[in-house]
Amino acid sequence: MTNSPIGSTLNRVDGPDKVTGAARYAGDESPTGLVHGHLVLATIGNGTIRSMDTGAARDHTGVLEIYTPDNPLPLHGVPPGVAFYFSETRRPLSDHEVRYHGQIVGLVIAETPEQARDAAALITVDYERRPANASFRDNVDDAVVPEPTPLPMGLPITILADGVPSIDAALAASPVTVTATYTHPARHHNALEPHAAVATWDGDRLTIHSTTQAPAAHAIELAQAFAVPADHVHVVNPHVGGGFGGKAFTWGPTYLAAAAARRLGRPVKVVPTREQLHTTTGHRSAAHQTVTLGSSADGTLNAIRHLSVTQAIGEDPGTRLTMKAYATENLHVSLRVTTGLNVPTTTILRAPGEETGSFAIECAMDELAIELGLDPIELRTRNHLTHTLSPDPATRLPYSNKHLIECYRLGARRFGWDTRNPAPRSTLATGGWLVGTGMAGAVLNASRAFTAVRVSFRPDGTAAVATSTADLGTGMRTVLAIMGTDSLGIPVDRIRPLIGDSRLPVGPDAVYGAQGSAATATVAPVVRDAAADAVEELINHAVTEPRSPLHGRDGVRYTAGDLTDGATTIGFGDLLTTTGGTDVGATTTSGPVTPPSYAFASHAAHFCEVRVHRLTGEIRVSRMTTVVDAGTIVNEKTARNQIVGGVVWGIGPALFESAHVEPDTGRIANANFADYLVPVNADVPDVDVVFLDHPDTNFSPLGARGLGELGTVGSAAAVANAVHHATGIRVRDLPITPEKLLTTPTGQA
């Protein structure tokens, strides 16, 4: 029997393919007859296209066709399901209106990508220009309560203790209050792999190699746009080079690639440039949050008011984070959204709502701790949330297996928190660097979705574990391999994980991909069930197949790849070779956790040390410790990788990331990797990650909750709190850049 590799540090099973370049991504496909599309984008922020001069482009060598609003491609309906809320509802090229700078206004098809690009540069557009309204900040005051949607987001929620008339009254009655406004700029996913699509039609059947987080959902969205049955669309995405929510839904470039391929009767590839990705594939809304905390003198929270303004219901900090953060008798969260901005479409981005919300709440807690003269960990411990917050006390649920306080304690010990001098600007290291430390907590709702997994045995002695999800670099393939080994008792190298294909098994009424940090939690437990069902099928096969050496036997058992009745033993590979069986197994479907008598969430505590130059204000993160409570850890190596990645995704917004949207034009002034700064290796210290590993068996028999986005929650606040401790300067407007720290006279240390 092979030992279960759950919790081990197994290397990624697809590591060698990725390192050697053998892994094929969507854009690597070049079917025979392939032609290439290059997008043309609007260069104004608001207006109407009067005319487009495509003459010179048409004459360019190799150009086959140019699609514009005057020569559009048919795309039907609007995106179905949640895609309606989180992607662009208007079909590209469907009218002459320009709603934002960088909107798609044309697609040039040519024999080579260079010809398409060079021809696209020859197109001129005559616009009737209107002033663009592109400043999020200028629209904050006019934001409105969003229209109700089937999604549980955006609506104001008020919880009041008995006899308390309003949240304002609760705050007014609090002996200590802090209130502050925190702002985030718009930000971009910037996955390393661009949204590439290679579309081939055969009659009314589409095969599309397309980088997506959810192949089955992608197929449904494409089928809708082309008015074909969903099973006529075959999405193939074996490898995905980062998604972060940006590849959860289908975007204009992909629709156009498929539409052009259908029209031309030839395979079409479209790969947007880095700059084009910034405006055509979604981004995270800017955010404006005002948090007021009211507490007693001993630090017990009495009231939390969290008023958020964003551009999108998906970016709802109050509902997604604050409701799950700290205990309080009185709470009010609300979201208002800006409307009519001339900026590109927003969508979900890693920990939507939680990331923005955690910055506001975790900084506000730091501010309150300072106001109270209390240690930030002590303040958090005093307000530990044990049950969910809900306007109806009867619906409050206890958190299952929550070990956040242990995260604080263990983190504090590893990080050396206890020796910290709480006074800001108290430590100066050699070279003129002020040293500061800060911490923050993190919470991420844990969920499981419907899914289906097929486990099957093959004559070559391998077993396939198949499900229609994606590996975004998260390690899903490795998780499937580990779960297959755990369930079937055969070595990892005999497991064949199959993912990244819309034809693989999907759940009954949800087409689940890799999103919401729930892929492992969703898929992993079902592998066990599917494996058990597959073993049953295999035994049945062994005793019913006439050519089987176990034909007609009683008491046949399966252990570690072998079938035996005590007298005769045969490996399943040999068995299937003998019987001629090719793929014997079972497809098993799961449901979500029902009925919940607990609330489920993963938690973490972040500790951060920064150095800020006393003269010039550069900020360098020098140490980071993150302690994670996410239940069973299926593979420590990929889990650590996810947490470190998440922490990097906190350092990014804290110090670097920002789309510089020009208020008057809506143009993003830094839509490239030289100017849109993300942390590079030298900006990231070695992150010390610890997993508590308390299995949450209320959640699933396996006990693994999700963690993909958890590192991103709270980590920016830990950085900002450390910057405050280093400098005494509280920066609430992200990113924290050197000029925001130049507020002391020259040279004062």
């Binding site: 590079v680 000029e739 020259t746």
Partner: protein, 325 residues
């Protein structure tokens, strides 16, 4: 990218003979190819000079001589440079990324074009790219732009870090055309934008930058380059300062200072140098000397912090040389 012809030269004479009015020399290509893809530069002919034997790095009684085609990485690591002119080595090591430095040449570095985002986007107005079209940066996003030497036509910085160090050291560039060779002080080589921002330097059409000469300066051994930016590596300067001091005891006998990230060309700081000479190298004297470092600055909407950051960067560079940053 527009179509172009391509040829490779194996001698300087061949290069000069092949150059025409609408041609561009290709060295490492890290600026040129980039800008050709963006259709900011669209030469009809590209002439590869990377093959020319202009890669020497040597030192004699007339100073340090670096061939135009020496790699940034080779110069940064050269022991003559690290020992005698640490400011040059540091300026190079704070530039770009290791991959780029392995590819990029010294001549190309000095001749690189501005990183102004509007210059690089042909859909916007830019007097430097298209004379007379306007300057989108003045009303646009201009945090990285210049505050010194600007005009109503252009506010772009010169992006080279190396050039800041070279200007501090009073270096010259050697220019060669069919008529012969001439040396021009780098400080005079670069032009202020005025109302002709498309004219950036004194290089004549077809002229080749053959090398750089840094005059002897024994006390440049005590020199440093401080570059301030958001991200630790791989970003152009918000501000930078190249500094060298001739220290006698703790008195500044002589000093060289030049700044980057703030000027439309590498910005020598003679007034601050004057205020420092014969003074002790101490925090108070340094702070007093920088008070007027940026008096001529004209900040834009997003870079109002640059004058103060410049003063602080100078202080930091000098205190670094005093061993007390």
């Amino acid at each position: 990218m527009r179509p172009f012809t391509y040829a490779s030269a194996s001698t300087v004479e061949e290069a000069l003979a092949g150059a025409g009015a609408d041609s561009a020399y290709l060295a490492g290509g890290t600026t040129l190819v980039d800008l050709m893809k963006l259709e900011v530069m669209s030469p009809a002919a590209v002439l590869n000079i990377d093959t020319l034997p202009l890669r020497d790095i040597r030192h004699d009684h007339t100073g340090l001589h670096v061939g135009a085609l020496a790699r940034m990485s080779d110069v940064a690591a050269h022991r003559l440079v690290t020992a005698r002119y640490p400011v040059i080595s540091q300026a190079l090591l704070h530039s770009a990324s290791p991959q780029l430095r392995n590819m990029a040449s010294i001549g190309g570095n000095v001749l690189q074009r501005t990183r102004c985002g509007y210059f690089r986007d042909p859909a916007t107005a830019c007097n430097k790219r298209t004379p007379g079209s306007g300057c989108a940066a003045i009303t646009g996003y201009n945090r990285a732009h210049a505050v010194l030497g600007t005009s109503e036509s252009c506010v772009a910085t010169h992006p080279s870090d190396l050039a800041v160090a070279l200007v501090a050291l009073d270096a010259s560039v050697l220019l060669r055309d069919r008529a012969g060779e001439r040396a021009v002080r780098l400080a005079d080589f670069y032009l202020l934008p005025g109302d002709t921002p498309h004219l950036e330097n004194r290089l004549r059409p077809g002229e080749l930058l053959a090398g750089v000469t840094v005059p002897p300066l024994s006390w440049a051994r005590r020199s440093t380059y401080v570059k301030v930016r958001d991200r630790r590596p791989y970003e152009f300067a918000l501000t930078s300062v190249a500094a060298a001091v001739d220290l006698r005891g703790d008195t500044i006998a002589d000093v060289r200072l030049a700044a980057g990230g703030v000027g439309t060309k590498p910005w020598r700081l003679p007034a601050v140098e004057d205020a420092l000479r014969s003074r002790p190298l101490r925090a108070d004297t340094v702070k007093a000397a920088v008070t007027h470092a940026a008096d001529d600055a004209t900040p834009l909407s997003h870079n109002g912090f640059k004058p103060e950051l410049l003063r602080r960067t100078i202080v930091r560079a000098l205190l670094t040389l005093a061993g007390r940053p």
